[in-house]
Structure formats: structure tokens, C-alpha cells
């Protein structure tokens, strides 16, 4: 915005110099046109969906909406998806944040490896991952049993993990790795992690306390945007859930869409509102976490839906 206004002033000065009347600020610049086009692009589908959901084909009707709340599957699937999303978000952030910190601090040579690891989930299609996971945890292969130090047979036979929500959470953690590692790593690079850690250390502070009281508050925006992305990905994930045979909210949405289009439209709007609420909630958390630092840091969120 600053550059724009600076350009504007320069342009105005130029115009005045040419003897022309400087244009006043109420003008309708190209930037506003673009903004409006973008808004239309995003809002029109939403608005039409809303209108479609609130009609029965010819007139206004709340049937679609009321039938949703009478549907036991709605609450069931929604709760399952929320649980999955919250579990994957917590697990990913708790796993990746200290790891990224450790890599930044002590294993700078592991950076390329982490970068590749964070790209693999993009390269591997969900369907391949789903079959891979199902294959590993259902068939007993001696090689894998040995390589995993007995963890795979334990999970397969004792916990019976195949096609359960916990395995789906693990899969979501893998999918979310790029979304989580990138913003956190960017933040860590931006704050001079190493010197801050050394400063804390010279003041007598141990590793975990440094991480929690010095590093975490300063990379909070990255952590929050990581959490947001993981949460929304897990909330809307269809392929893996479907292959695992779990009845999650996106699958319920799909099933409903095949039976009752008006109800599906209302559902879409509802799920949009729920996600929006969650996102707002997390952003509120970000504001609290940022505390008094006062620096206006932007959350580098990519809306991935």
C-alpha cells in the first residue's frame, strides 16, 4: 500500500508539473476494478449456492436447512471430521515445530532433507498413500516387521489400526507436512533463531524453556498459519477418508449431494460457515499469542480449499 501511495504522489506531482489538474483520491483505479472482479469470482458461487440451498426449486423454503439438523449423520460426521482435524492439527504442530527448531539450530545440514520431505506429500497422490498405508498395516510382511522394529505388527494386530481414525490422522499429518514445515521454517529463518537461543542460553536458560518462552512466541504467526492450513485440509479431505471407509463430513456431503441437491447446497454453506468460524478462532488465538509485541506481522496464509 505504501508503494502505491508513493507512486500516486509521484504521479500527481508529474501531472501538476504538466499543468494538468491532479486527480482526486475518489477515482476508480485499476486496483479497485481487480479487487471487485476477485470478490465477484469468490462471492457469486457462494451466493448462488446459498440461494439454491434456500429454495425447493420454485420458491423460498427452509426445508433443506431443517432437514440437515434433523439428520443424525450430520452431527455424527461433522463431529468425526472436527475430531480428525483437531487431532491432526495438534499432532502435526507438536511434531514439526520442535523438529524445525532443532534442524535450524543444530542440524543445518539436514535442511535439504527436510525440504525434500516436505515436498514428497505433494508428489505422492493421496490414492497411492492410502493404498500404501492400507497395504503396510493389513498384510504382514517380515521385512517391514523387522524394519519398523515391531511397530507395524503391533499396530496391525494389537491396536488393529487399519481403517481407523488414528491411522487417518497419521495420514493427514503426512499430507500436512508441507503446509506446516514451510511457514514455521520461514519464521525461524526470519528471527535469527541461533543468536536468540545463544542469548537465552547465556542467561542460564535451558533448551525447552528457550523454545517455549523465547522461540515460540516469535514464530507464533507461522505456527498459527500452519495450524490453519492443516485444520482446513483435514476438514475437507475426501480421497483418503473414502478409501479408508470412514464416514467423514466431506463424504456425507458427497452422499447428500447425490440424493438432494438443495440440502447439499445448504450443507455447503453450513460447512463454509463452520470452517470460517474455526479460522477466525485460530486467528484470534494468533492475536493473543502475539501479545504486546505490537509488530504488525502478517500471517502468511494460503487459502487452500
Amino acid at each position: 500500500m505504501n508503494t502505491r501511495s508513493a507512486n500516486g504522489t509521484a504521479l500527481q506531482a508529474e501531472r501538476t508539473a504538466q499543468g494538468k489538474k491532479p486527480r482526486q483520491g475518489t477515482g476508480f483505479g485499476l486496483d479497485k476494478v481487480v479487487l471487485i472482479l476477485v470478490a465477484i469470482y469468490f462471492l457469486v458461487p457462494l451466493a448462488t449456492t446459498l440461494v439454491f440451498g434456500l429454495s425447493d426449486g420454485s420458491s423460498f423454503s427452509m426445508n433443506g436447512v431443517t432437514s440437515i439438523f434433523g439428520d443424525a449423520d450430520f452431527t455424527g460426521t461433522l463431529l468425526l471430521s472436527l475430531e480428525l482435524a483437531i487431532a491432526s492439527t495438534l499432532l502435526t504442530v507438536l511434531l514439526v515445530t520442535p523438529t524445525a527448531y532443532w534442524v535450524q539450530l543444530r542440524l543445518p545440514r539436514a535442511h535439504p532433507l527436510m525440504d525434500i520431505l516436505a515436498l514428497v506429500p505433494f508428489a505422492v497422490p493421496a490414492i497411492v498413500m492410502a493404498f500404501g498405508l492400507i497395504e503396510i498395516y493389513s498384510a504382514s510382511t517380515p521385512l517391514i516387521n523387522v524394519l519398523s522394529l515391531g511397530l507395524v505388527p503391533f499396530l496391525t494386530n494389537v491396536v488393529n489400526i487399519v481403517n481407523t481414525p488414528p491411522l487417518l490422522v497419521c495420514a493427514y499429518v503426512i499430507i500436512a507436512l508441507p503446509f506446516v514445515y514451510r511457514p514455521i521454517d520461514n519464521n525461524l529463518r526470519a528471527i535469527n533463531t541461533r543468536v536468540l537461543t545463544e542469548a537465552a542460553s547465556s542467561l542460564g536458560c535451558g533448551w525447552w524453556r528457550t523454545f517455549l518462552t523465547i522461540i515460540l512466541p516469535n514464530i507464533w504467526p507461522g505456527v498459527i498459519s500452519a495450524a490453519l492450513l492443516t485444520f482446513s485440509t483435514a476438514m475437507g479431505e475426501f480421497t483418503l477418508a473414502s478409501l479408508f471407509g470412514l464416514y467423514t463430513f466431506p463424504i456425507y456431503l458427497n452422499v447428500t449431494g447425490q440424493n438432494d441437491a438443495h440440502k447439499a447446497a445448504s450443507l455447503t454453506i453450513l460447512s463454509f460457515l463452520i470452517t470460517l468460524l474455526c479460522v477466525l478462532g485460530i486467528m484470534l488465538l494468533a492475536r493473543v499469542g502475539r501479545g504486546g509485541a505490537g509488530k504488525t506481522r502478517q500471517l502468511d496464509i494460503v487459502v487452500a480449499k
Binding site: 528471527i191 535469527n192 543468536v195 536468540l196 545463544e198 542469548a199 537465552a200 542460553s201 547465556s202 542467561l203 542460564g204 536458560c205 535451558g206 524453556r209 523465547i214 512466541p217 516469535n218 502475539r290 501479545g291 504486546g292 509485541a293 505490537g294 509488530k295
Partner: protein, 372 residues
Amino acid sequence: MAFLKLEGISKYFGRSTAVDTIDLTVDQGEFLTLLGPSGCGKTTILRMVAGFESPDAGKILLDGENITNRPANKRPMGMVFQSYALFPHMTATQNIAFGMHIKKVASDTIQQRCAELLELVGLGDKGPSYPHQLSGGQQQRIALARALAIEPKVLLLDEPLSALDAKVRVSLRNEIRRIQQQLKMTAIYVTHDQEEALAISDRIAVMAKGKIEQLDYPEEIYSNPRTVFAATFVGSSNRFEGILQLASEGIVKVENHILRVPGNTSLANGARVLVLVRPEEISLREADTLSSETDNQISGTIELRTFLGPFTRFHVRVNDTMLLTADIPSQQARDLSVADSVAVTFPSTACQVLSLENQQIEANQITAAETI
């Protein structure tokens, strides 16, 4: 009485030697500066004392106790960084209080100490400010207060003034010295700025290539350098390479000139030597007023005249290879101008003689990097 003692400390990074078997002792309450160009190992030594790096060989003793393998957060050292390293999400007061919280100091004591320290560094009213609201100099003052808050046994300063502009640098360096003397704090200071080192230190260790070239008082380092490197890194000098013809009389042959230097029996006749003369030791006279009173007299032509305020710097061309620098107090320099023929004179006592027999390589490097 040695308070901090480094014994045979070495550190290697891959194949290169950062610090090469260094012995160093720092007395209680002493301000010791490690001075040297970048890559000479000075910062590595400081980081090993702080505990951020562990030495590959040798021992570090603090007050008689071996702390070589103790982690950084268990060492009683306060550290000030070049980049300030204040915690950005904490106010100045919170930054200062941080170390005391870790040490579980009672909270009313913390409050009182914070106020005292803010006062000590001259920022009594900046307690509630966040680092980004403070200037560089103010941030470094807070960082100093933060390091002092834990009442360290040794204060370590890693080029604390390098990121500041010239004026702040001078005033803050005086502040650091004042506070260090007031608290009788043992301090190790790392810098590549020789003026800073001369101004602030009790003793200076001039370092090059992982070794200490000379460890001495600032006056000695300046006026009595022991190695070619120390002589050329600290201050600027005119350099004459020649052959010592009569060691006991102090007669050196430089090209077709004869220089008189202090007599010295530790060097052999015929030795290759480097004679150094500080620019401020040189006087210029008009060419026709040659006198017999001075020991050394070379005639030349003024090639460049630079007015620098209190003194004026002259470059005097003697011949194709010899260009001398003379700093003349400005009042006495009014009559001298470019293209004048002058006699360059300096007393024999102003000459430093260093043997070049074992230091050939370094001497060549220095000539290549001439004119400071």
C-alpha cells in the same frame, strides 16, 4: 592472579584451524580485548569461553575450576552480541529480568535490579519499550544491562559496537568502559577496530590466523609492536625494508639511504629488517633548511595534501618505490603545499625495527595491502 585461564585451546572447523593452541589468562576486574582481522579466531575464542563452541583441545579454567565441558547455560558468563539479540516479544524490562527469573530471584528484587540497571545504562525511562521501538545504541545498552543482570563472573562482548554508527560507537564504548570499571567486572571484548581496542582495554591480544601475535598494554602494542603483523594492524606506519648493517649502532641500509635506528644487539648484522615509523613522528621542512640535528633525513616531493582537522596528512614521494605518509599538526602545515620539495625528518628513537628473517610471507602480504 589469573581469574580466567585458557590452556592450550585449539579449535578446528573441518580442515581449517580457527584457534591454534592458545594460552591466555585474564585477571579479575581486567578488560581484555581480542583484536584482529575477521577470521583470526577471536570470536571463536569468545564463543568457547561462553560455551557455544567446545574446544578440540585444551582447558578453560574459571577461578581455578575446570569449566571446559560445562554447557553454556550453566556458566556464569554474560554475553553481549553484535546483533543485540534482544528478545523481540519482551519489553526492555522483561529482557533484563529474564535471566533473573531463570535464576529464581525474588520478584521485588528483580524489579529493583531492573530499575537500577536501566539507570546504570542511562535508559531509566525506556523500561516499557519494546526492542523495535529503540535505536540500535539503546538496544545494545539494554542488551548490556540484560547481561549484567545475572551478575556474571565474566562479561563477554562480541563486537558489540560494529552495527552502530560512528558517533554512537564512541559514546557507547566510553559507557561500556565506565560501567566495567564501576562494577570491577572482568570482561573480554572482541573487535576488529584497533582504535576501539586501544581506547577501551587494559590489555590487548592482537590475533592473526588463530594465534596471539602480541599480548600487551595498549601503549605497548602501539609504540612497541613485537611482530610485523601487530605493527601494521594497529595504527598506520611508514615501512622501510632494509639490511641491518651495524646492529649495535643501529644502522640500516634502505635502498641507497642510511637510516639510524636504536641500537639493538638481539639482531645479527646483515639481517633483513623492517623499519617502521608512525606518520605522526615525521616532520617536514623546506628542502633548503637541512639540519644536522635529526638522525634521519630523506628528501622528497609532496604529492598529496589532505586536511583532516587537527592534523594534515601529506604523502611525500621520495622515489618510484618509496611513498611516505606524514601527519603534521595543521597549524604547522600551512606553508606546505603540493609539489613542494621537502626534507622528511624523524629521530632514530621513532624507528621500530623488526626482523624479517622469519616473517617473509607476512611482510609481503602487508606490502601488497599497503596504505591504510
